[in-house]
Symmetry: D2
Subunit: 312 residues, 4 copies
C-alpha cells in the first residue's frame, strides 16, 4: 500500500478522514487499522470486551461508552471503580469542570476541588455519591447477603435513570460490568462501613471471576477493545486467554512497551500468552484515548450503521 498525500475537503466527515488515515504513516495508519478491526469484530459476531480506566469516564467519554453499549458494540465491560462512582455522580446530577494541568493544587484543596489532569471534581460530588449509595446498600442487603461484583453493579444500574450512564445502559442491555478491584475507591469505603454493621454482608470477587470466565467460551469468537491499561485491560485478556484467545484485539494507550508494563503491552505481546490468537487481527495505537477512541470507533460505527449492523 502506498502513502497518499492527505488533503482537506470542505465539510469532511470523520469517517472520510479516518479512511484517508489508512494511507498516512505512523500512528494514523495504526488508527485506521484499529477501526477496521472493530468493524470485523462486529461482522464476525464476536463477543466484544470493552475495557477502560476511570479517568476516561472523568473525561467525558462516559456518554460515548453508554451509547456504545446501547448500540450493541460492547458485550462485556471491564473497568475500575472510580469511573463507576463518577458514572453514578453524574447520573445523580454532578457536573465536572474543565480546569488546567497547571492549577495550584494547594488552592484547589482548600476549595474542595480534586484534580484529575485538567479536570476538576468537587468534593460535594463525592458527598452526593455517599448519600445515594448508603440506602442502596441496605436495599441490596435486604435481598441477599452475598453478592458477586457484577451482580451488584447491575442492581446499581437498574436504579439509575440516565441515558448517558454506563451502568444504566449496561443493566438495561444485559451487558455485565466487571470491576476486579471494587474496593479501590470511595465505594470500597462505603462497603466497609456497611459491613461493619452487617458482618454477614459479602462481596464475592471469586464468584465474579467465574462470571467473567463463563461469559464466553472457546467456541465463541472474541474481540477486545482495551483503552488504557491497568487491571481492566488485564482482566479482559486473562478471560480471553482462558477461553482460547481472542480473534480480534485493539489496544489504544499512551503507554509504550519499553517499560514492560501492562499499560504498554502490545497486541503482539498478547500472542505469546495466547491472550489473542496467533492469526488474530490486531492493532495497537499510541495516543490520548480522548481522541484516538472517538476517531477509531466513529469510523466503525458509521460503516456498521450503513450496513444495518447496529442496534436500535
Amino acid at each position: 500500500m502506498k502513502v497518499k498525500d492527505f488533503k482537506w475537503k470542505k465539510g469532511i466527515k470523520v469517517k472520510e478522514m479516518v479512511e484517508s488515515f489508512g494511507n498516512l504513516g505512523f500512528q494514523s495508519i495504526e488508527l485506521a487499522k484499529a477501526s477496521e478491526v472493530i468493524v470485523k469484530m462486529k461482522k464476525n459476531s464476536a463477543k466484544i470486551f470493552l475495557t477502560f480506566t476511570s479517568n476516561m469516564v472523568t473525561s467525558g467519554l462516559r456518554g460515548f461508552f453508554a451509547q456504545i453499549v446501547k448500540l450493541g458494540m460492547a458485550d462485556v465491560l471491564v473497568t475500575t471503580v472510580g469511573g463507576l462512582e463518577e458514572d453514578i455522580m453524574k447520573a445523580t446530577g454532578a457536573k465536572f469542570d474543565i480546569g488546567k494541568f497547571e492549577a495550584d493544587d494547594v488552592e484547589l484543596h482548600e476549595q474542595g476541588v480534586n484534580r484529575v489532569g485538567n479536570l476538576f471534581i468537587n468534593t460535594e460530588s463525592y458527598m452526593k455519591f455517599e448519600d445515594w449509595i448508603g440506602p442502596v446498600l441496605q436495599q441490596l442487603y435486604d435481598k441477599k447477603k452475598r453478592w458477586a461484583v457484577s451482580e451488584l453493579l447491575k442492581e446499581l444500574g437498574l436504579l439509575l435513570d440516565d441515558e448517558n450512564s454506563i451502568l444504566y445502559q449496561a443493566a438495561k442491555n444485559d451487558v455485565p460490568v466487571f470491576c476486579p478491584a471494587i474496593t479501590d475507591g470511595a465505594f470500597g469505603f462505603h462497603l466497609y462501613l456497611f459491613q461493619q454493621n452487617h458482618p454477614d454482608f459479602v462481596v464475592d470477587v471469586v464468584q465474579d471471576f467465574g462470571n467473567i470466565l463463563l461469559c464466553t467460551s472457546h467456541d465463541e469468537k472474541k474481540g477486545v477493545i482495551a483503552l488504557g491499561g491497568s487491571i481492566s485491560k488485564h482482566h479482559a485478556i486473562l478471560c480471553t486467554l482462558l477461553n482460547g484467545g481472542a480473534e480480534f484485539a485493539v489496544y489504544l494507550t499512551t503507554a509504550h512497551k519499553t517499560s514492560g508494563s501492562m499499560s504498554g503491552a502490545t497486541t503482539n505481546e498478547a500472542k505469546s500468552w495466547g491472550k489473542v490468537k496467533d492469526d488474530s487481527d490486531i492493532a495497537t495505537v499510541i495516543g490520548d484515548v480522548t481522541f484516538t477512541f472517538p476517531l477509531a470507533m466513529i469510523r466503525a460505527l458509521e460503516q456498521l450503521d450503513e450496513e444495518g449492523l447496529l442496534n436500535g
Copy 2:
C-alpha cells in the same frame, strides 16, 4: 542552587553519583530529591507504603523489594496479583529468562513462552504455581472459611522459605501485603476452582479495605513510595487520603500527567485530593523504574545505614 558540571571520579559509588545528580538538571535533580524524601520518611518514623506493579517483580527487582522489607524500609506493601504469583514461582524454583522486545510472539507461543517486554516466563512456571497453590488453599480453608486478602497472603508467605521472596520477608517482618484485585491473575482462577468445590470459602475484599484503612492513623506520619501506577498506587494513596494525607511521597513512573491517568498522576495533583498534605515533601521522577528505583533507594539506604537507621 547552581548547576554543577558532572564529572566522573574513578571508583565512584552509587551514593556519590546520586548526590551529584542533585546539581544536574531535568530528571536527575528530581531523582536526587526523591532520594532525600525517602531518607526523610525514615528519619521521621513515617509509616512507609511501598507500591509496585507486577512487571517490576518480573524484572528482578523482587529481591530488592524483599531486602527493603527486611531492612525496615517498607511497612505496608500494595501490589497486583501477577507479581505475587511470580514471587511464589521464583520461591519454588522458577527462573525467568532475559529475551528481546522484538521476539517472534507466535514462535514463543508455540514454545510455551510468555513475554513481558524483554523478559520470558515459561508456561511451566505457571504449572509449578498451580501445583503449589492447590494444597495450600485446602490448608487455609481447613483453618477458616473467610479470609481477608492480606491475611491470606501472610499465610502464603509463612509457607515460603526464600530470603529473596517478597511474601516471605513481609510475613516474617509483619508487613501487610495488600492486593485489591486478588482475582486478576492465575491465582484468581485457582481461587475460583477451589470455591466451586467449597462454596462457603470467601475471600473478603471489603474486610481488607478495613485492614489497610486501619493500618495507620491521622496521628501517624505517612510516606508513600509508588513505583509505576495502577491500583497499587491508587490504593495506597486512597488510604493516606482517608488518614489525613501523607507527609512524604515519591512517585517513580514512566507515565506522563498529560493523559490524566493514575499512572501519570503527579505528587502535586495528589495535594488537591488531600492524598498528600499541602506542605508535604514530594518528588515525581519520570523514567524506567528498573533504574530510577535502585538509584534513589540505594542512596537513601547508604545514608540511613551510616546513621544506624536500618534494621538488622
Copy 3:
C-alpha cells in the same frame, strides 16, 4: 466550562467532533484550544510560521502542508532538509510504501529499502533525487555563485510542477522556506560534490538568518504552529523572540517537557524567553501529529472558510 458527555451523531463532521472536544478532558480539550488559536492567528492577520520535521513529510502530510500554503494559512515555513528532499522525490514521481514498525531491517537493507517508522522509502527514490538535483545546481550556479538557503529553495520550487509539493506551492505563493541545516541530508552531499568542482559556490546560511529575521517585525502580529521539535521549531521561535514575541502559538508534539528538550518545550516555557508574549494565546497538544494536526487544522479551515478568510 463543564465536561459534556461525548456522543456520536450519524454522519458527524470533523468540525463538529473537534468542537465537542472542547468539552472533553485531557488532550482533547487542548486540541480544541489549539484549533481556536489557529483561527485567531488568521483573524488577527498574524504572520503564521508553520514548522515541521522531515518524518511528517514522509508520513503523507506533505500534500496537506502544500494545501495549507495555497490556502494562505502559512506565511513562513521552517523545516529540515530530509523532508524537502522527499518533497522533490514525490514531485518527480517517487512513491513511498506503508510498511511495519517490526519489519526485519537487515532484510530491508538487502532490498534497498530504508525504513522510517512504519514507512518504507526505496533507495531508488534517492537516486531519482540525485539525477534531478545535479543539473539544477549547475543552473543555479550559472545565475550566481552565492545563495541564501531560502533563495535557493525558492528556485527549486519554481522548477517543480506538482500541486501537492510544498516547495512548489511555497514558491508560487511567495512563502519563504527556511532550512537552517541545509546540509544535513542527501542534499548536503550533492552540494558538497558540486562545490568540489566549483569552489566559489557558496550556500550562505548567515545571510538567510537575516532573511528569516527580517521576514517579520515587532509591529506585525505573529503566530507559530510548531509540529514536532528540532531546529525547525527552535528557528521559528528564535525569530519571533527577536521580533518581540509571538501573539499566538500552537505546539503539537509527542515529546514531554520532563527531559528539558526543545521537542518537549511547552508554549508556557516559551513565555519565559519572550518567544511568545506574556499574554499570548497558546496551546500545547501531546500526540502523534499525523492525527492531531489534521484534527486541529481542519476545524480551523472549516471555520475560516465559512467566514471567507481562506485564499482561492
Copy 4:
C-alpha cells in the same frame, strides 16, 4: 541469560550496579548492553562519534562531555549551537540555576530568566556571550574570510581556558566539533550582525559537510553514541552511512519509535539505511539522558581504565 534478583550491597559502586543491571529486565538490561557496546567501540579502536543536544549541556553534563573528550572516548562531536553558546557562557563565568518545571513563566520573563525545563538561564549570560563573541569574530575575520563551521569552532575553543569546556577540550585534543545548524541560536544573530558590516565574511556549511564526510573512511571502524535526537544524531549517522555504516551504535533517548521521528529512531531502524552495519553491536535505551548516560558511560570508563585504555 537468567533474570537475577537485584540486591543492594553496602558501598556499591556504579560499575557494580550497572553490571547487575545486565540481569534486570526492561531498560536496565538495555542500559547494561549499551555500556558494553561503548567498551567494544574503544577496544576495537573505532572512531567514536558523540552527539548531544543543547539541553544536555544546560543540564550539567557539559563537564562530563569535556572529560570524555579528554579521556579519548570521543573522536568527533556533533551538536546544536545552543549548547556551544552555553559552553562559552560557562567558560566565561556564567552560572545556571536549578529551578522548577512549574515556575511562573511570566514572572520569570519579567526577571530576565529563561527556562529550560527545570533549569534557569539569566539573560545576562547571553549578554556575556555577546560581549565575548563580537571581538572574536573580528579576530577570525582578520585571519581569513571564509570559514568551515568546525574550523571556526576550533578557533573558539583555543580562546577558552576551562578544563570543563567542551570546545576547549575538543580544540586541545584535536576533536572536531560539527554543528550543522550553526545559525540556529544567538550565535547566528551575531554572525548575521557581523556579516552586515563584512559582506565577504562567509560561514561555509558545505565545506564542513566535506570535513565530517572525510573525518573517517570505509576502512575505519566507527561507533556512534547518540544522546537525544535532532540533527546532531542524524548528521553523525549520515556520515557513517556514507562511510559504509557504523560497527557500533548506542542511542540514548526519551523519544519512542512510534511517531517515526529521528529522535525516536532505533538502532535497528538504522540498519535498514546502512547507517549501522547489518551485524553491528547496537543498543537503544529509553530514559532521561541525565541518568542513562552517566550510568552507561561510567561503567565503560571504569572497565577501560582498568585495562589502561583511557588517555592521560
